[in-house]
Symmetry: C7
Subunit: 85 residues, 7 copies
């Protein structure tokens, strides 16, 4: 699963076109399909939704997220497949 990750941004590159979870500084969480990112970790999500405790709170569609408000980013697939062992 982790092949080809030599630098941190490689994970984002591998996640293009896939669903990711983004955890923000204000403890909000967004899920959406990663369309683009840059070295500042600014990202664009398609079909973004704000989620809380696994529930969708609102849909915000296509979204530009400033990198400096991001705490962590995880591919949605790896979260699902590792639910508390």
């Amino acid at each position: 699963m982790v092949n080809g990750i030599e630098r941190p941004l490689d994970l984002l590159n591998n996640s293009k076109g896939k669903e990711i979870l983004v955890h923000l500084r204000n403890d909000r969480q967004l899920v959406g399909t990663l369309l683009a990112f840059d070295i500042h970790v600014n990202i664009v999500l398609d079909n973004a939704k704000e989620v809380s405790d696994g529930e969708v709170k609102r849909s915000i569609g296509l979204t530009f997220l400033r990198g400096d408000t991001i705490v962590f980013i995880s591919p949605a697939s790896t979260i699902a497949s590792e639910k508390k062992e």
Copy 2:
């Protein structure tokens, strides 16, 4: 809908002249027509309005917004069309 977005700022470029929603760090939200932006994500909105829970709180007209207070930006059209599926 997402054609042509290779870098994050492409979404802003595609949104020029269109209505966007801007979510700020202090959890205020503004809607307005995107007139201009730069690489710091400083933006100018025309006909800007502060909104809360879908209600207009006040109109602030033509507005310069500093990029470092912005959390995310969404084209208003994509929010409307994706209301909780």
Copy 3:
């Protein structure tokens, strides 16, 4: 009204000598006549007044404002002319 705004700072350039509203990070608001600005969005206001809910709280005269405490800036004329439509 919005002619000639290609980059965000164009709005500030158009507003020189005119009254603007400045919203700060601590949610204070100042109005005053824009005399000067730079690329850091440091600005100088003449005849600056701190306002709250449309009331003048105190006059602070000629004022230098650091750009990194600013959230947004609006020409006072556009606020007046767009009061909730």
Copy 4:
């Protein structure tokens, strides 16, 4: 009064040797005579006093102030002469 202010720092240059009011991020206010400043808006005040509601809280003499804690700076003379019109 505002002659010769083309760039924001011109106001500070005009205020050298004069009394200024400095409003800090933590909402403290200092008054003192401006001796020196640099492009980071670091400043040195002589005969600095912390004030609150027009009262002197304590004297702190000669003081070096880091620019990134400053919100705004006003020449004391312009505050006095513009007291709520």
Copy 5:
């Protein structure tokens, strides 16, 4: 144990492929296997889990963590082996 640490990032280099504890600014703690890092201390963890008081709160799988939200990082092995002496 501490051989070969001349610069701070040497500790991260020595920890590649090993489990580390990451303490974030919001006082959350994550454990996971360090896959990659860069000079901004952005890191990628595999099999990341959020922990609190030694309990796993949730699994978040493969994760990209922005460096500027990190307070400290410890190899998990050194924590275990030094439990209050």
Copy 6:
């Protein structure tokens, strides 16, 4: 007293080997003898003590202080000599 202060850092240069008061962002105050400083206003104090309301709370000896946590710095001699006039 203020001879030779053309740039803000001149005050720190004049204070080497003398006692200074350092006010930090978290409203803690330290006094100590200034041994060294750099352009980031990182400083080293000897015989540093944390003080509160004129009382010594604890001694912390030789101390390196990061510049970005500092609000203001005053030579102790000027504070004493200007006690509320």
Copy 7:
């Protein structure tokens, strides 16, 4: 004791291999042996322990600390030898 400190980082250089106290922004305090540091004041501590009111709260072993979370750093020896005079 203070020989050879011309620049702030000289104090850290003199403290290599010795026990230091690190005070963080969130008011946590760590003690440990300084192994390495860089110009960003990122540091590596060996045998690090979180302390509070002189008590060890937990051991965290070998630790990488990001410089921008640090308020001040003191050699442990100078704290002990200067206990309120």
